[in-house]
């Protein structure tokens, strides 16, 4: 009986350790975790079928509030995803590009320039912003590289195992149930409905005048922060080495005196990119051409609401569809069905936000159970502009 006892004891011990490990994984993934719209967006990217995306957008909130993948698919037939995170760092952008190469092979990668336009490199060490992106990445060589190079020794373990940092969140559980359920539903469903798009139903009214009309004539440049510039060079070198079709964009903003320096840094970035053979479309400088109405199309100085987003999406998507570099891949029936649902949800979201703004209500709208429930009352017919 000795051999049997040995085997059964080994199996029981192994099962015990496996049960502990699975419990920790489940807790880390669904309960003791800082789940927000960034988590749902980044995780949703990894649930896309391998090599199924024609284009991937990378950047910060500027891009995930401006471009509607569902609308782009409905009108131009190409699939896309917003692999973006709130105030993503420039290192985060580089890691995101590497993750896109690792998991998808889109014919186009579009990078919103925000991460490189800060006046200093403080954002690179802003823990909240770094965590918002990196906590949601699966274990990979790219994530490990970043942790190894950039994270202080004392904090490395909490980046490898976020449960170490967030184990205390159980005290906030009742308030987090909505996002926990959204996270769980995402995994049950296997894809997200908005492909990363998020908005706020609000029309920004400000006494501070917008300077957008001046931007087409602004040729002044301000140097980029040295660290951010170096990261930009590293990104460009990586893109060239891997033959990536990368284009850079700058989404429209409500530019004021306080944020004017960013425009000049954007001009500088344009010069750098042109020198190195990359395309840069500073749509911020030509928002009137796109049809952006400063008095209606923003929900704050940095982000457009759905009125602005639909205009920007139509403009940019049409440009991309006419770009020879964009190759539209074949889709299975199941994928076509999924994307029809994505377009329908996007249309419902537009109407929902329009309804809220017409009634003077302000509300965030994203891929969570509360918003998705509210959308059921709205039509999914295409939005005619």
């Amino acid at each position: 009986m000795k051999f049997q006892n040995y085997v059964t004891r080994t199996v029981k011990t192994a099962c015990f350790f496996l049960a502990v490990m699975m419990s920790c994984l489940l807790l880390q993934q669904y309960v003791l975790r800082n789940v927000d719209h960034n988590s749902l967006r980044v995780e949703g990217f990894y649930q896309e079928e391998r090599d199924s995306l024609d284009a991937v957008f990378i950047g910060a909130s500027d891009i995930y509030t401006s471009f509607m993948p569902g609308r782009a698919y409905e009108k131009y037939g190409f699939t896309s995803y917003l692999l973006a995170s709130e105030s993503i760092t420039s290192e985060g952008v580089i890691t995101a590009v590497k993750e896109v190469v690792r998991t998808q092979h889109p014919s186009l990668i579009i990078i919103e320039a925000n991460a490189f336009l800060y006046g200093d490199s403080d954002n690179e060490t802003n823990e909240a912003h770094v965590h918002k992106f990196f906590d949601n990445l699966p274990f990979s060589i790219n994530k490990l590289n970043y942790i190894n190079r950039k994270v202080p020794v004392d904090n490395k373990w909490e980046y490898m195992f976020p449960l170490i940092k967030y184990h205390g969140l159980w005290t906030e559980l009742p308030d987090r149930v909505n996002m926990m359920q959204s996270n769980f539903n995402l995994d049950l469903r296997g894809y997200n409905y908005l492909k990363g798009f998020r908005t706020t139903a609000k029309v920004f009214k400000s006494d501070t005048p917008s300077l957008n009309s001046q931007l087409p004539y602004e040729t002044g440049e301000l140097d980029l922060d040295p660290e951010l510039q170096q990261n930009l060079f590293d990104l460009l070198d990586y893109s060239k080495e891997n033959n990536l079709n990368v284009i850079f964009v700058r989404a429209p903003h409500y530019v004021t005196k306080d944020t004017y320096d960013r425009v000049k840094r954007s001009n500088k970035m344009e010069s750098i990119l042109e020198e190195r053979g990359f395309d840069y479309y500073a749509f911020e400088n030509y928002s009137e051409l796109i049809g952006i109405d400063d008095s209606r199309d923003f929900y704050n100085e940095d982000h457009m609401n759905v009125y602005g987003a639909i205009k920007f999406t139509d403009f940019l998507a049409e440009g991309l569809a006419n770009d020879d570099d964009l190759k539209i891949g074949e889709q299975s029936e199941a994928q076509q069905e999924m994307w029809k649902e994505v377009s329908a949800t996007t249309n419902r979201l537009y109407r929902y936000c329009d309804d809220l703004m017409t009634n003077g209500e302000e509300k965030g709208a994203q891929e969570d159970v509360i918003t998705l429930d509210a959308l059921e009352n709205y039509s999914d017919a295409p939005i005619e502009r």
């Binding site: 199996v11 496996l18 699975m22 994984l25 690792r102 060589i141």
Partner: protein
């Protein structure tokens, strides 16, 4: 016959595995025909040669699963190890269903539980055979069972380790999957041989 229920159970388990092999072959045939016909203009005459093997494979899988359950149910009356194996069959099925119907991390977690359950079913089945062999003083089958468990557990461990490699070396999973498949196939063949020899041993009128 010393263990009539044990014999009946192991016999059915062996039959279940053989039917599973035929089911896999049918599925492979259907896949090959599907790939072959997809390269031509769609023609309804190709449909039966894909659909029939697919249906046959599905039916055989169901029959094999039922035989496995019945076999373990019978064998557990002669040895307790089969009782544990029997329980873990249901754990594995439940985990597979959750894994299939979900995505992301949830799916991965339950897929792992399903694989571990499958391994435990095999280990406890072989332990049951080891017990029979010990009671019948058959040192050869005892040794065979020991080797089967060690190789099976090792193949599983190798598969787990190799699945972590693509984290560090992207796009190597296809090559490693092939290596893992060969390892697991070897372990499976050894398992099948042990099951077959146990049938013979239990059939002896002693």
């Amino acid at each position: 016959m010393r263990f009539p229920k044990g014999y009946a159970g192991v016999n059915k388990l062996f039959a279940s595995e053989i039917i599973n092999i035929f089911s896999s072959v049918m599925f492979f045939v259907a896949s090959v025909f599907a790939v072959f016909s997809s390269q031509r203009i769609v023609n309804p005459q190709y449909l039966p040669i894909i659909v029939i093997p697919l249906i046959a494979a599905g039916l055989m899988s169901v029959v094999a699963f039922i035989l496995q359950l019945v076999g373990l149910g019978q064998a557990k009356k002669d040895d307790q190890m089969f009782k544990t194996a029997f329980a873990f069959v249901f754990v594995g099925v439940a985990a597979s269903v959750v894994s299939f119907m979900s995505g992301g991390t949830l799916s991965n977690i339950f897929s792992s539980i399903s694989e571990v359950s499958s391994l435990i079913v095999s280990v406890y089945t072989i332990l049951g055979i080891y017990n029979f062999a010990e009671k019948m003083d058959n040192a050869s089958i005892m040794l065979n069972a020991k080797i089967t468990i060690i190789i099976g557990a090792s193949a599983f461990a190798v598969a787990v380790i190799l699945r972590m490699v693509p984290v560090f070396f992207p796009r190597t999973e296809y090559m490693l999957d092939l290596f893992v498949s060969v390892t697991e196939l070897t372990a499976y063949i050894i398992f099948l041989i042990c099951l077959g020899r146990a049938r013979g041993m239990l059939a002896e009128k002693k």
